[in-house]
């Protein structure tokens, strides 16, 4: 039942610290990926002061998913995984009975709503997880994908009785 090996590009953002690159590459070989090339753009920082790295690798789709997951588990910021380039980032806050309404299912649903990746989640539950809590999600989408993602989040929030606070993009200047 082995699936065909495919080529993938993974775009990572690393903090500028010794050993970071090695730490980021380990999960690839550990999960059976075959490293093809690493493009280390030193001196070229992301807006958040990170170093962008582009990694080309080969793996089966199944293994590739495991690689991305373990990269994220290892705290590596995966900006783009696979063929799609996530070029827009946005932050939304969800608030309500997040735990009761299954936060991980909510996140999975958002990830499944299009070319979007949840790159960071911060939870605040001052009254405990049984009470109203809030989560700040950092999302990366492909260029022009923000509106579609926001619509999907709005629908999901309505369905689950959650409140969504979206960024006012036009007004930021």
């Amino acid at each position: 039942m082995s699936e065909a090996v495919q080529a993938y590009t993974v775009r990572l953002e690393l903090v500028d610290e010794p050993g970071e690159l090695l730490r980021a590459l380990e999960p690839i070989s550990e999960n059976g990926g075959n490293l093809l090339s690493v493009l280390h753009e030193r001196g070229n920082l992301t807006p958040r002061g990170r170093i962008p790295i582009e990694v080309d690798l080969e793996a089966t789709p199944e293994r590739f998913d495991a690689i991305v997951e373990s990269l994220r588990d290892a705290g590596v910021n995966v900006v783009q995984a696979g063929a799609e380039r996530y070029s827009e980032e946005l932050v939304v806050i969800l608030s309500g009975h997040l735990v009761e309404t299954d936060l991980s299912e909510t996140l999975t649903h958002i990830q499944g709503s299009g070319e979007v990746s949840v790159t960071d989640v911060s939870l605040s539950a001052p009254g405990g997880t049984g009470d109203v809590s809030s989560a700040r999600l950092r999302l990366a989408t492909e260029s022009g994908g923000i509106d579609g993602v926001l619509d999907a989040i709005d629908d999901l929030a309505e369905e689950k009785g959650l409140r969504v606070i979206t960024p006012l993009t036009e007004g930021e200047a």
């Binding site: 806050i93 109203v132 700040r136 606070i165 960024p167």
Partner: protein, 315 residues
């Protein structure tokens, strides 16, 4: 100009008080049960004292104020939804008498814009309503100067009560209930704050802007509205950790009206604090304009009313 003022609350009383300052005179004023009428001009102090002592402004019937001899009717009765009464009938009656109308009351232009414009059309009188959007801020006259078709979007903080609550919650880490109670003690929020915290008031202002910007009638039913009632303090906390804050933002763009709590940069232009309002206009040829200031209050709103009266006097 000779003014008749319908409504003797915070706004009506301030119009009465400040009219002379602007070179106009109030010849009639009405509250819900009485009216004072004097064709030589009312004495503001006498009327205000009587209102404070007896609850009435004079010995006349409210209808006598409408029937008095005036150039401009100032409508400052409570904003109501749906039929926009009693304001709407006052407007129609003034237009039937070929008088001008200046509104502080949002109802007629938010809920019955087409009807009001039709009544104006059939009259020699003109309609202005600067005070209905963001109190002292000259939002509508700026739109008129730019030309409505040159304004591509309007957004802003249009409700001081909601903004006070959000900015206090963020600054002090206090929860919604606590800050709302404090706002009520300070007189910033009304005993029933629902119009403000549910986003209705901000939405009415956006509807009025949309009516001015676009060539069709909008009402509250055309707006997508979410308020800030019971917003969890954890939302503001998470926003602050990321250099952002939450504001109740009204937006009019591409024919759509939307009001809701939104993330904005913590030190950004739209993150005004306290009861301050801000109106941001995107224009076709003049870039972006930001006008901020006091969005409510008796004298503030009366100054917008009297600015409209001044514009009518020049026509």
């Amino acid at each position: 100009m000779k003014l008749a003022v319908m409504g003797a609350g915070a706004v009506g009383a301030s119009v009465l008080d400040l009219a002379a300052e602007y070179g106009h005179e109030v010849v009639a004023i009405a509250d819900s049960s009485s009216a004072a009428v004097d064709s030589h001009g009312l004495n503001p102090e006498a009327v205000t004292d009587r209102k404070a002592e007896t609850g009435t402004v004079g010995d006349h019937d409210p209808a006598d104020a409408l029937a008095a001899d005036y150039d401009v009717l100032v409508e400052a009765t409570p904003t109501t939804l749906g039929d926009a009464e009693p304001g709407y009938s006052h407007v129609v009656e003034a237009f039937e008498r070929d008088c001008h109308v200046v509104l502080a009351n949002k109802g007629p232009v938010a809920e019955r814009y087409a009807d009001v414009r039709a009544a104006e059309e059939a009259s020699d009188g003109d309609l202005l309503f600067e005070a209905t959007v963001a109190g002292a801020i000259p939002a509508l006259s700026t739109v008129a100067d730019l030309g409505p078709t040159h304004v591509t979007a309007v957004r802003g903080v249009l409700n001081g009560t909601a903004n006070f609550v959000l900015s206090r919650m963020a600054a002090e880490g206090l929860d919604y209930e606590h800050v709302l109670a404090e706002a009520q003690d300070l007189g910033v929020a009304e005993a029933d704050p629902s119009f403000d915290v549910e986003g209705t008031d901000a939405a009415l202002k956006c509807v009025i802007l949309a009516n001015v910007l676009y060539d069709r009638e909008y009402t509250l039913a055309d707006a997508s509205v979410e308020g800030i009632a019971n917003l969890s303090g954890s939302v503001l906390e998470l926003a602050a950790e990321d250099g952002r804050t939450v504001r109740l933002i009204g937006e009019v763009q591409d024919g759509e009206i939307r009001v809701g709590p939104r993330l904005v940069p913590e030190n950004g232009t739209l993150a005004v604090t306290g009861t301050r309002n801000i109106v941001q206009l995107d224009t076709a040829f003049a870039g972006r304009l930001n006008i901020s200031g006091r969005g409510a209050g008796g004298p503030e709103t009366a100054s917008a009313v009297l600015a409209d009266v001044g514009r009518l006097a020049k026509r």
